[in-house]
């Protein structure tokens, strides 16, 4: 190690530090510390003259280590690193002592504050001796992108990237892309038809030369790191040859076997060979083994007989496809909350209690009732209650607000008013109409004569107290604006169910090494400043998998994710963290204690050498493995054991 020549700079920060800490004393103290060549004070070290002071000293006094005692490193470490670098020193040969936030600002006693400042300076000086120059590394970025989830988020992101001229693999677990949005009838607040605005995008995605659609497929394994992921995808057997099928639909027509339609949430039926809906992309059916009589009893094959192209293939097997991509966008969406556990709301008990998604299908002209809003008995409801926050804003189910319910509930009132004579009651806790045009929509709906009752519904019951209530569903609760218990007899109840994380969100999180919040949604890198990236570089999230959101927000986030990917593709390389862990293979005994500790799968065991190795591209530099290594064979760059030990010694002066 070269002889350390350390410069120490103590900042007054106006009176922020100097008002409490005796800066002069700290400087005198620093001068006496081992290897300190110069110690100075200045009013504002972060100012240009302050930085120049450091630069001059580096040049004139040949300093090779620098310590600045000022504010939190989270604030100005980059500033001073940059200054040091400009003077020709490696930026990592710098250390900061936080004598403002963690000293002058929290301490009243001047003497104690000064003592603490000295201790922190001494720690920084002792530590910086051990600092090593570090270099960041570049790795190339594979320009192909994997997008998981073929809802509006996935489609949007795929189109943006594909339009920019880059390859996209769009993986969707269902037989068609479209996601939840294609199930919706109208979209708020503009009331345009959901399918009308989405199908053109679906078609573009389906026919785009740069998009490889992989429907009825699921990601099974992900390895590698930003710029260089390897992904294994299972293409489930459709029993229909995608190359041969021309989507004529004869097979579906001729299939004699029916099953409840998943797309219509069981309100309608589909065939055993089916596409989930007529505008499916790709327009290639799948055979549902659970309901196909050939698979169940070995007889039928009607579809095969009628298929002129010979596209039916009962022998088809799942296929494993290996992909190599540089970036991944996860857009796996949400699950609708099942309100059955809220027994008091009567879902699955009273036939005319519907979930919001069911109502979407009920409203839709292509839905099971041809768009007629009717009760189970086919009659038109005379009154409808829409219950908000079912499973949302409720400690018993989900604490968060699902964000879209108020608006779709308003939309429903409009649709009901448009299509029936029914009275509509909105039973809400708060009306949250924050988006562009949303408040206006709310006002418009108010004017349409929708009745708003503020209060969380306690119960939906069929137990009538008066003749008027007989044969009705009575929605009971407090009208908090009146301070009175209210009973509203209605014919139909719609439950505005929460949007919740996909049931397999945990597996997806593990697969892609991203994290879930307490609510189960995937966590973004920063809730405000980085809402698209995840803690795993090269993996982005968009849409409801990150948290409940509406279509415009989803599209915006998807475009943002696409842009982030495109910027990485266009840069062509990624810079890796310098403060990573490295394993000394000369010391590693191959015990494999560290292997499972890495949340990023950055540690691999090299079988033939019987040692573990850190993939620097994957390592985020947390140091957990370092602390666990019983052989001290792992070094955490910039947070080495020596450095921290020196710091401990320093703070204990």
């Amino acid at each position: 190690m070269e002889t350390p020549k350390i410069g120490v700079y103590v900042c007054h920060c106006g009176s922020n530090i100097a008002g409490t800490v005796d800066v002069q004393q700290v400087v005198e103290f620093a001068k006496k510390l081992d290897s300190v060549v110069v110690a100075r004070e200045y009013k504002f070290m972060c100012s240009d003259p302050g930085q120049n002071m450091i630069k001059e000293d580096i040049k004139n006094l040949k300093l090779n280590r620098v310590v600045v005692a000022s504010c939190s490193p989270l604030l100005h470490e980059p500033t001073f690193r940059h200054a040091v670098q400009e003077a020709g020193l490696n930026p990592y040969l710098f250390e900061m002592a936080n004598i403002r936030e963690q000293c002058s600002w929290t301490t009243e006693d001047h003497e104690k504050a000064t003592e603490k400042a000295k201790a922190l300076v001494s720690a920084a000086v002792k530590r910086v001796r051990y600092h090593q120059p570090l270099e960041t590394k570049d790795v190339p970025v594979n320009p192909a992108t994997l997008i998981v989830g073929g809802g509006i988020a996935g489609i949007q992101a795929a189109l943006e990237i594909a339009d920019a001229g880059h390859k996209v693999y769009l993986v969707e677990k269902d037989p068609s892309i479209g996601g939840h949005m294609i199930q919706f009838d109208k979209t708020f607040p503009t009331l345009d038809c959901s399918a009308c605005i989405l199908t053109p995008k679906m078609t573009s995605a389906g026919s785009h030369p740069n998009i490889e659609l992989m429907t009825y497929s699921e990601v099974e394994d992900v390895s590698g790191f930003i710029g260089n992921f390897k992904v294994r995808v299972r293409k489930k057997a459709r029993f229909v040859d995608e190359e041969k099928c021309n989507g004529c639909g004869v097979c579906m027509e001729k299939c004699p076997w029916k099953a409840p339609s998943e797309f219509d949430l069981g309100l309608g039926e589909r065939k055993a060979i089916y596409t989930p809906f007529p505008q499916a992309v790709p327009n290639i059916p799948v055979i549902d083994k659970e309901h196909c009589v050939y698979f169940l009893r070995g007889r039928c094959r009607a579809c095969e007989k009628f298929c002129e192209r010979g596209a039916i293939d009962f022998e088809q097997q799942d296929k494993i496809v290996e992909l190599e991509v540089g970036n991944i966008i996860i857009a796996t969406g949400y699950d609708p909350f099942d309100p059955t556990p809220i027994v008091k709301y009567g879902y699955n008990r009273y036939p005319n209690v519907y979930t919001a998604l069911e109502f979407e299908r009920l409203c839709n002209a292509a839905g099971p009732t041809g768009g007629k809003i009717v009760l189970r008995d086919g009659s038109e409801p005379k009154s409808v209650a829409i219950i908000h926050c079912v499973g949302s804003r409720d400690e018993n189910y989900h604490r968060y607000c699902s964000r879209v319910c108020c608006m779709y509930a308003l939309k429903y009132s409009h649709l009901i008013k448009e299509k029936t004579e029914a009275d509509v009651y909105q039973m809400y806790i708060d009306m949250r109409c924050f988006g562009k045009g949303y408040e206006e929509f709310y006002e418009r709906l108010s004017k349409e004569g929708v009745k708003f009752i503020r209060g969380k519904v306690a119960e939906v019951t069929d137990r009538a107290l008066t003749d008027e209530e007989k044969g009705k569903l009575i929605v009971c609760g407090e009208d908090t604006l009146l301070g009175t218990v209210i009973r509203v007899p209605v014919d139909m109840v719609i439950l505005c169910i929460a949007l919740e994380p996909r049931s397999d969100a945990k597996q997806v999180a593990q697969l892609f090494r991203i994290s879930q919040g307490a609510d189960g949604f995937f966590i973004e890198r920063h809730p405000k400043l980085d809402p698209v990236a995840t803690m795993t570089d090269g993996i982005f999230i968009a849409g409801c998998c990150q948290g409940p959101k509406d279509i415009p927000d989803t599209v915006a986030q998807a475009s943002a994710a696409a842009t982030r990917v495109l910027s990485l593709i266009s840069k062509g390389k990624v810079e890796l963290e310098a403060t990573v862990a490295v394993i000394d293979e000369e010391k590693c005994s191959g015990c494999r204690v560290c292997n499972i500790l890495c949340p990023y799968n950055a540690i691999t065991f090299i079988e033939d050498k019987e040692v573990s190795r850190v993939n620097e591209a994957l390592c985020k530099g947390c140091g957990t493995c370092v602390a666990a290594c019983p052989s001290a064979a792992i070094t955490h760059k910039h947070f080495t054991t020596e450095e921290i030990m020196a710091e401990i010694e320093g703070v204990l002066v």
Binding site: S383, E443, S446, G449, F452, R454, E468, L481, V485
Partner: protein, 384 residues
Amino acid sequence: MEIELLTPSKETTDIILEEGGDDLKSCFQCGLCTGVCPWNRVTTFSLRKLIHKAQLGVVDFEDDEVWRCVACNACVERCPRDVQMPLLMRAIRRVIMEVGAGIVPHSLRISEKNISAVGNPLGEPAEKRMDWAKDLGVKTFTKGTEMLYFPCCYQAYDPPTRKAAIATVNILKKIKADFGIPDNSVVCCGESIRKAGAESLYRKLAETNIKIFNDLGVKKILVTSPHCYHTFKDEYPEFGGNYEVIHLSQYLDQLIRGGKLKFTKPLVKKVTYHDSCCLGRYQRIYDEHRQVLTSIPGIEFEEMRDNREYSLCCGGCAGRLWMETKKGERFSELRLEQVAEVGAEILAVSCPYCMANFNDAVLTTGKSETIEIKDLSELVSEAL
């Protein structure tokens, strides 16, 4: 505790809607109206809750609270959803007055009967309506007269209020205006009784007056009551009465600016002005009075705490003038405190209801020695 159970009634809501309460649909229950309502300076009255009950059709028509609203429009001024509360209240009251639900306060019922029977709420004989002008040498309006001066019922019958009508005539004569007054066949303009819910009576009144005016070929009407002003200008056209309506304050302002009115006697007094709701928030006529008052030599003019669009109602609109208001709950008394606050000797008004209310209030609050209530017309007339 017994829990009150309510069930929304579509029918009741529909009636209120039919009666013109359409605005209630827009209300999103923010409660701002309750916050600004002058009633809450003197008691508790949740206008917001009343609207919500109307939304759900669970209004208690027998409760006094449906009669509270004075239609001062203070809430409308600030309502984020632009709900016209007075229209809503009017609709609710119509359901009571016209459909027969609930109870009409006795005093209101009397005024209604008076108007219906003799054409004025005071119950004075119709044939004496124009007695106030007997000795003034004013001509009765005939075809071809330029302008009809229409004094309000109070200005016709109530002696202290009548002074305004007399002063007005003096001014008009001074400038040699071509004007006439109606004969005894005219009736109350109906503005307040309409707001109190008596829609059919109002229509009868309007039709009567319109027929007379139209027969006489009236084109321009000068009024000294903001209520007449409001209904002639904004409501009569619906029934075929289309006139140029001008309030005395506007008229005077025009005269002064046109140099047609010259003051000769200085009036060394400290004066403040009370904006009536009907002229202020309803018509946004604020500056004219102030210009007239400040152009009178000697007057030291001072604004009260609540002025212009934030003016505090005297408590007399929408039929409240006829109903009993408990002492301690009268806005006029609060308003006088504001007058005292600025140390004004004269409270200028330009509305007969305000005049009547404040004349009462100076007596009940013992301020008759220190505060004088004068109509704008009186002050101008004195200074000529």
